[in-house]
Symmetry: D2
Amino acid sequence: MSSTYGKSLKLSIFGQSHGAGIGMVLDGIPAGLKVDEENLQEFLSRRAPGQGGHTTSRKEADKVEFLSGIVDGFTCGAPIAAVIHNSNTRSEDYSNLMDCPRPGHADYTAQVKYGGFQDAAGGGHFSGRLTAPLCIAGGLCLQWLSDSGIRIGAQILQIGSIKDEELNACHPELDRIDSAFPVVNSDAGEKMLDAIAQAKAHGDSLGGIIQCYATGIPAGLGEPMFGGVENRISEIVYGIPAVKGVQFGTGFAAALAAGSENNDSFYIENGKVKTLTNHCGGILGGITNGMPLVFSVAIKPTPSITCEQQSISLSTMQSASLIVNGRHDPCIVPRAVPVVEAAAAIAIYDLILSNTQTNKRK
Amino acid sequence: MSSTYGKSLKLSIFGQSHGAGIGMVLDGIPAGLKVDEENLQEFLSRRAPGQGGHTTSRKEADKVEFLSGIVDGFTCGAPIAAVIHNSNTRSEDYSNLMDCPRPGHADYTAQVKYGGFQDAAGGGHFSGRLTAPLCIAGGLCLQWLSDSGIRIGAQILQIGSIKDEELNACHPELDRIDSAFPVVNSDAGEKMLDAIAQAKAHGDSLGGIIQCYATGIPAGLGEPMFGGVENRISEIVYGIPAVKGVQFGTGFAAALAAGSENNDSFYIENGKVKTLTNHCGGILGGITNGMPLVFSVAIKPTPSITCEQQSISLSTMQSASLIVNGRHDPCIVPRAVPVVEAAAAIAIYDLILSNTQTNKRK
Amino acid sequence: MSSTYGKSLKLSIFGQSHGAGIGMVLDGIPAGLKVDEENLQEFLSRRAPGQGGHTTSRKEADKVEFLSGIVDGFTCGAPIAAVIHNSNTRSEDYSNLMDCPRPGHADYTAQVKYGGFQDAAGGGHFSGRLTAPLCIAGGLCLQWLSDSGIRIGAQILQIGSIKDEELNACHPELDRIDSAFPVVNSDAGEKMLDAIAQAKAHGDSLGGIIQCYATGIPAGLGEPMFGGVENRISEIVYGIPAVKGVQFGTGFAAALAAGSENNDSFYIENGKVKTLTNHCGGILGGITNGMPLVFSVAIKPTPSITCEQQSISLSTMQSASLIVNGRHDPCIVPRAVPVVEAAAAIAIYDLILSNTQTNKRK
Amino acid sequence: MSSTYGKSLKLSIFGQSHGAGIGMVLDGIPAGLKVDEENLQEFLSRRAPGQGGHTTSRKEADKVEFLSGIVDGFTCGAPIAAVIHNSNTRSEDYSNLMDCPRPGHADYTAQVKYGGFQDAAGGGHFSGRLTAPLCIAGGLCLQWLSDSGIRIGAQILQIGSIKDEELNACHPELDRIDSAFPVVNSDAGEKMLDAIAQAKAHGDSLGGIIQCYATGIPAGLGEPMFGGVENRISEIVYGIPAVKGVQFGTGFAAALAAGSENNDSFYIENGKVKTLTNHCGGILGGITNGMPLVFSVAIKPTPSITCEQQSISLSTMQSASLIVNGRHDPCIVPRAVPVVEAAAAIAIYDLILSNTQTNKRK
């Protein structure tokens, strides 16, 4: 039950980093939705590696093959299955990681949970590579949301100590986010790339914060308590490896404010209910209020660093030092941006599918 | 599907603030677990109001009546149902809130979602009062976890700008948390109470941060991707009203660190695998690593403030000013501490029940 | 997870036969649906005992108390919780049943599963009394379905070897079913009552078959494979104690027919698609075809018989003979009729709530 | 949510009859279970067509490709994904079936539900071909159950009016079932094959009844009410196309018996609790009692018959006559036998994974 998400839709993700293939099944999608495979492939290329100094040099085509659910460019109502075949597999020897677990990785916990039967190659099912099928599902949902006037975009808010300019939470101009390196302020972007390059030069890595916005969301999505928009989004976003925090609106900063500062006052604009500020991130009582949805995500620094680290040998139960080789991103934050958008799209599309119609009291 | 949580256990919470009763059904619990009703009642009293200047003056007995699932002090395997009858109900008129929604509250989103049929009295199903049944379920899980050597405790880490001393993430001494006002440093606690009193004097409110620790957790709980410990805990914690952020270990601060700082090195202590630091909060790849579980929660300032606020009239679609009367906590953070513990206990107990046994490779 | 049902709605049933109360929580119901409590109470009285020679003489008021989810006669969108307090409890000693299990009852399997902690009194959570909360949920769904022109009715098709006249599967005239004793042919009904009386006189019991019809069902409900109407209905109907078979349309008889006999030919009537026969029971490929839904249910004879039976002592692991005393229905089929209707109503209402809208190809 | 099954395991089935591929994802399986791919392929060949006069002449290799979840012959704890690529696709024109639906098929209901976007080719997702991935999942579960001493086997109990000899419900000797044509009595098998040949000669088809047995099942599996063994098995078995009835033990026949006949008396044999008869099919109160599990399944006659049938044109809304061409089984009962076994294996394996441990009262 580890890798299945959703209430009205059911997303099932499978694959290991160096297995035969990775992919997903997306069940519960209505028939008659248009699918633009070229657009999807472009979306996927945003998370693919090999696009700049800040990513690993491993080349992945990530060519999606649809096995079912789509006929002549439209969903047919049957589950959508898609596979990306792995071309670049199992060439290296990962067996030593099963004895000497890498700090910050799932090597040790996988060993405890799967008793030595886990697929250790390339991180197995824990690999960041599994975000590719998440992006297949999310890329499709983004297309369908777009047909309803809902747009989702995310910016790198921070890498290390360098901060980008934040979009306006009431009117996020998503087009201001650069398409190549997703920041608003290009100077900040340059500094971030420098910082990543420096970390790489030291065999070290960096983390960061991604902020995601969804506009065009109707009021009334979500449910109180455990079915709230925050619950549903955080449940899927924590499925992205390296995420260690999720907050909505001003989030942890709201904890510091007074109520008189933090409350968002209502007003009417062109006959529509709006709020003057958007500290709540578009969600009150778990339910969307019609303002943009805003949340941010903490990404820890890539645990794969090349400097020597302290670990242990599980066979001898003695301390051991570890040098991690291989191709690794010194900072996965840029590649994680479309993944966060994808996760948000899946959660929101599921919320829309689950939304029950209510009578209106006259 | 709004108010149901769990994989192996199924928790269903019901009630409105001013309805006949609030309660819960907890299904999927094994038979033969001891239930100490007195201990549960004591736990519930920690979230009850009326215990100091920092809470509302409304008195609630919160006396739990068990309807099923417990026979002679032990679970019998059937669903456990419990009710708290509301004694203090529907005395006031809340109908104006359906026209003039309070900023920061769910009044407007409830109106959109439920079309005027929602129970507006006292916040209805959105009320913080619904955390009482959460504490019934959580209080029971705390007892059963305690029988397995698992302890859960939480401290107020911050209220407004005042910070408490943080417990050691590797060895959290839960007994250092004061039982009356849950802080480690009593000076910080005094200052927090002062700040709350000041906010109250101004008709204003304060938010804060709660940090929760669980010790004695075995390694190997949780699943990769969507079934991870972070996913499961955040899904339930966001069910607590006013929560706007959840982070694990160093969380958002990890985003600022280098990988070489943030990775937790392994070592052996008395034949057990441990980590020198606990930046990951005891979770790697969604799975517990045997170190204490650490997460923190952002609580927004209570939206119920008595100073005049800007709102609208939904009937006239004109702006309107609003004065909120009634008994309200100027800061719900202290009362939310046991609720966070309860939520953590439910999530962890569910993870334990869901944990599959694996073979060990010889 | 034993006693929770539903996809879009979540029904949670709790209680033991001789516990403090039995009841249900029904979550996921839209706001603004009218609730007629008097009508519900009348529906519940159809399954209540003590209405004739064919039922136990135990009197149960089965007075429903709603704790939440209904305000001023309408659903408010919050979970609906209802309780029936047990007035007539734990007077007898059931401990010997934990040692000497009754044949045909769950005494032995409960002992294995719950290890001696089960509530043995009156059958505990296995008691037929738990169908009362099922009827609360089902009675509400029947009201809401009726508002959409959907009617559900069931007849006793057979008790022992005596058969009632079957309603026409294409045009079931539900009003022909007698309201007091639910058969179409009153002579058959008399003979059934005689057979029950005879069984009772011999300390024996009888089973039977109930056939249920739903009219006004729109075409297009249900999903292929595991989400089909047959899957959803059988999943809930097997929740009724004593059910040992469920079949749709001609069911097992279809197994004997040739395809040319069993296929239902399509025709057009008043611009609507219909079938000349209804052997499929209104379901093709798991999806409703707009014809009446027809299914039948096998009810085993009540295992509680007063003649001496062969059993064992679990403490001594020796054979033991057993005489069951107490008030028991010699035939529960008549009382099970509204329960089958209730189960069908819940399943159908859940299917309607889960039904996704699809685009139509132009 | 149509094609996803399971509580502790999650089975997701995808594909259309003439799409690129069909397959399944099986999530929630423990690590370290042995997988014998050759044995699985043999199991799959039992449902493959082209093995005799009684099946369609279409040849399918049904070669399974595993994409994930298995490393070096053992499950690795990650979801297991498997694909069968379709070699024999979309050669014919099925568009007329979208206008003129075949009686007894899902053509019309698919048209209503999917609005003309459904994959009509070869029945699309409704095709019996989708039972192949069900057999992949079930074939794996059969292997793992076999490792725990649980065996599952099924016989053709009846085709048309010809009956096989029933195995003893208390001691089903599964080896007596013929491996080529799964009956106990070879004379009955010959007559069945004759009847099928005759039906084929007339362009007609036949249905039948399959009876399935599981031995070695421990007592205590399953839950009361909706989580019972009957509920879980029927939910999955109704996912097999053409199933119109499921009954447990004596099923509908129990409805005709007196309680004194139908109750299964307990006795002790070699220190184990047994019953003298097994009318209940090994299930009391939804929970296994340690006796063999016995259930039977009604399969309707294949709706694909070649004689002229009465239908309609959905475009003109006029009556139309229909001749169905193509390769079709005159009786799918023999090929459905391993599918029923597979479905039972999945349900039972899920019940075992979901089984919670209880304390034993001393």
